[in-house]
């Protein structure tokens, strides 16, 4: 396999593995738990290396995963003690563990190659270089194997516990009442996040893992409300962002991980602006439409109130609308024009006195009934 193909495959697999757990993490509003875990695993990694007397991948993996779960447990316990709120609990726990890890590294492992910077940056560009040897035979890059296993694991977890995950995410109370043990599901999910983070950061770097966990699901959530579509879209966004980012990084010769994250950021930005219903543009168009509709209704109700009264003559002029409804001249003339076009009102004389049409009267009655 060519190095470029290995990197592209690694990135795509990482995107799949991360998006699968990321969807539920984001739905549970715990996105930053991924960031917290990715930092807090450092002391676990060190402990694993210490127990194995060297940078042993397996020992490091288990140590780091244990530290990830410890983070979750500490955060939960702190929150449950009701002495601090959840965000504060997270903000207390992971830096403390990370600080402990950095201290251990610099005190006892300064001669071993375990760079604290690497915990944050990682380097996907090295993915093709480290190959896995099985029985003396080279069976391909380690990153592909580990991320392939992670993706399979996460997909299996999701398939097996789909119903439980769905229910405990959207209605934890009902899940508990039905005996689904939301706490168990919660820890299982957090365990998967920890394992994904640990497995991912050695292959592609922590910042890319966190981005792949958070950004695609949030982007997808702007585009759909259905869970299966959400999962599929998250995977698609993650994979597409990874491949495009990788191409751009190769073209401009910059950090691959950084470029993938930046690309995901651009994709999110586009979705944020242009998403069909939840996008900012669609939203402001909807707001503007509602505002104009409300203005038209205010106009017909105002006219209906004074219709046939002694004050009709003074009340039903466009100029008066500016005083009564506090509209600008521009707003008043625009609303009158629109109401006229919609066949709700008609001018009756040269001074612009307005009368309701039959349809306008109907609308006014409807509004009054609301």
């Amino acid at each position: 396999m060519s190095p470029n193909l290995v990197i592209a495959l690694t990135a795509a697999l990482a995107a799949c593995a991360c998006a699968l757990v990321g969807v539920f993490l984001v739905l549970r509003r715990m996105a930053l738990m991924a960031d917290a875990i990715s930092h807090a695993i450092l002391p676990g990694l060190v402990a694993g290396y210490w127990l194995a007397r060297g940078p042993n991948v397996v020992a490091g993996f288990f140590g780091a995963s244990a530290a990830g779960l410890l983070t979750v447990w500490l955060t939960e316990s702190l929150t449950r003690s009701r002495r601090v709120k959840e965000d504060t609990a997270i903000g207390l726990v992971f830096p403390a563990l990370f600080a402990l890890g950095v201290l251990l590294v610099s005190r006892f492992f300064s001669n071993v190659h375990l760079d604290t910077d690497a915990v944050l940056f990682g380097e996907i560009a090295f993915a093709p270089l480290e190959t896995w040897r099985l029985g003396g035979r080279d069976v391909g890059p380690t990153a592909l194997w580990s991320l392939g296993a992670l993706t399979t694991l996460n997909a299996a977890f999701l398939t097996l516990f789909y119903k439980e995950l769905k229910l405990s995410t959207f209605d934890p109370g009902l899940a508990a009442a039905l005996g689904f043990a939301p706490a168990v599901i919660h820890y299982a999910l957090m365990g998967m996040v920890a394992v994904t983070t640990v497995g991912g950061f050695t292959a592609v770097g922590a910042i890319l893992v966190i981005a792949l966990i958070i950004v695609p699901p949030v982007t997808a959530s702007l585009l759909t409300e259905r869970l299966p579509t959400l999962i599929a879209l998250s995977v698609a966004v993650g994979v597409a962002g990874s491949l495009i980012g990788f191409q751009l990084a190769s073209a401009w010769d910059v950090s691959i991980g950084g470029m993938i994250v930046s690309t995901l950021g651009v994709v999110f930005g586009v979705a944020l602006l242009l998403a069909p219903r939840k996008g900012l543009v669609a939203q402001s168009l909807r707001h503007a439409r509602l505002r104009r509709q409300f203005a038209r209704e205010a106009l017909v109700v105002h006219l209906a109130t004074h219709e046939g009264t002694a004050l009709e003559d003074s009340e039903c002029r466009p100029a008066h609308l500016q005083e009564e409804l506090l509209w600008t001249a521009d707003m008043a003339s625009r609303t009158v024009a629109e109401a006229q076009a919609a066949g709700l009102v008609q001018p009756v004389d040269r001074e612009g006195h307005l009368h309701l049409t039959d349809r306008g009267r109907e609308v006014a009655e409807d509004v009054a009934k609301r």
Binding site: R29, V84, I90, P95, F98, A99, T116, I207, M259, L272
Partner: protein, 307 residues
């Protein structure tokens, strides 16, 4: 006692201790508001978001002066903050996700810029990433002075707008009903967090900054229900752990300052959680044990069967 003498006489140690104390004081006070307003993770996002600002500041000016880099960091951090507030206000994306997106995307873009700088192959960029990981040991008098001025300005703003910020933290609805400009106040108070983050990056680094903001306030909260006392305590806790971390890190070799500061402040948090006079857990456990004993005694006196 040598360490104590060095604290006043040794140039390096004095700078580290002073810088860490300034950081602890400022982030303790400003972070208390973040703790109360459920923005505990804002510091984490803002400190990561600062990276592209630092790179761009260097790219544009070619200078590594602390003030230049700090301004760059502040600009990027502030932009990130505005984006977070906007996303939360205008969409149904939850705050946690908004923080996560800004954190990763800004930081990822910063990593790209770092590689661009590295490619230019000038020696000047070396160590730019160190700005993010904290290098308290290399703190200069110039940096300490810059930190003190920025931090002092931020504390002054808090002092001037104390009443408004207090209302905003505890009852934003009421503040709005009084026709206070809550949105501007919210923006200003969160902007002050950016100042604290910028001051702290240099000392404790990106990752540990969030604890520096959150921990002193969380500890102080366990001792008092009054905001003014909480702010004072948080400032004191922050400054004390800064100085303690600086002193401890020079007592032995190969002990990085930033992590030690964080471990000191974490220790204060643990003690406060357990023994804090207002909400300490130990007092609650003792109270519960006493209630159980009394309950048992009462049931025994009634002659009923004890469960």
């Amino acid at each position: 006692m040598n360490v104590l003498r060095d604290l006043f006489l040794d140039y390096t140690l004095r700078n580290i201790a002073l810088g860490a104390a300034v950081l602890g004081l400022v982030s303790g006070v400003l972070g208390s508001f973040a703790v109360l307003r459920r923005q505990g993770l804002m510091g984490d996002a803002l400190s990561h978001a600062a990276l592209p600002g630092i790179c761009l500041a260097y790219l544009l000016t070619g200078s590594k002066a602390p003030l230049v880099l700090m301004l760059g960091a502040a600009a990027a951090g502030w932009l990130g903050m505005v984006l977070i507030l906007r996303i939360v206000r205008h969409t149904r994306i939850d705050p946690n996700s908004a923080l996560g997106i800004v954190l990763t995307v800004f930081f990822g873009f910063g990593v790209v810029l770092l590689t661009v700088l590295q490619k230019r192959n000038d020696a000047g960029q070396a160590g730019l990433d160190k700005f993010l990981f904290g290098q308290a040991a290399a703190m200069t008098q110039e940096q300490v002075a810059t930190m003190a001025v920025l931090g002092g300005a931020a504390l002054l703003v808090v002092a001037l707008l104390y009443k408004e910020f207090k209302l905003l933290a505890f009852d934003p609805e009421f503040a709005r009903s009084l026709a206070l400009p809550t949105r501007s106040l919210d923006l200003l108070l969160t902007s002050l967090l950016v100042v604290a983050v910028v001051i702290g990056l240099n000392t404790v680094g990106v990752v540990l900054m969030s604890a520096m903001l959150v921990a002193p306030g969380a500890a102080a909260r366990q001792w008092t229900d009054s905001l003014s006392k909480m702010l004072a305590l948080a400032g004191a806790f922050g400054a004390a752990s800064g100085i303690a971390g600086a002193v401890l890190s020079v007592t032995a070799e190969r002990i990085p300052t930033g992590p030690v500061i964080i471990l000191c402040v974490t220790l204060i948090v643990i003690v406060s959680l357990l023994f804090g006079s207002a909400r300490g857990l130990v007092w609650e456990w003792l109270r519960q044990a006493r209630h159980r004993r009394e309950m048992r005694a009462a049931m025994a006196a009634e002659g009923g069967t004890t469960p």
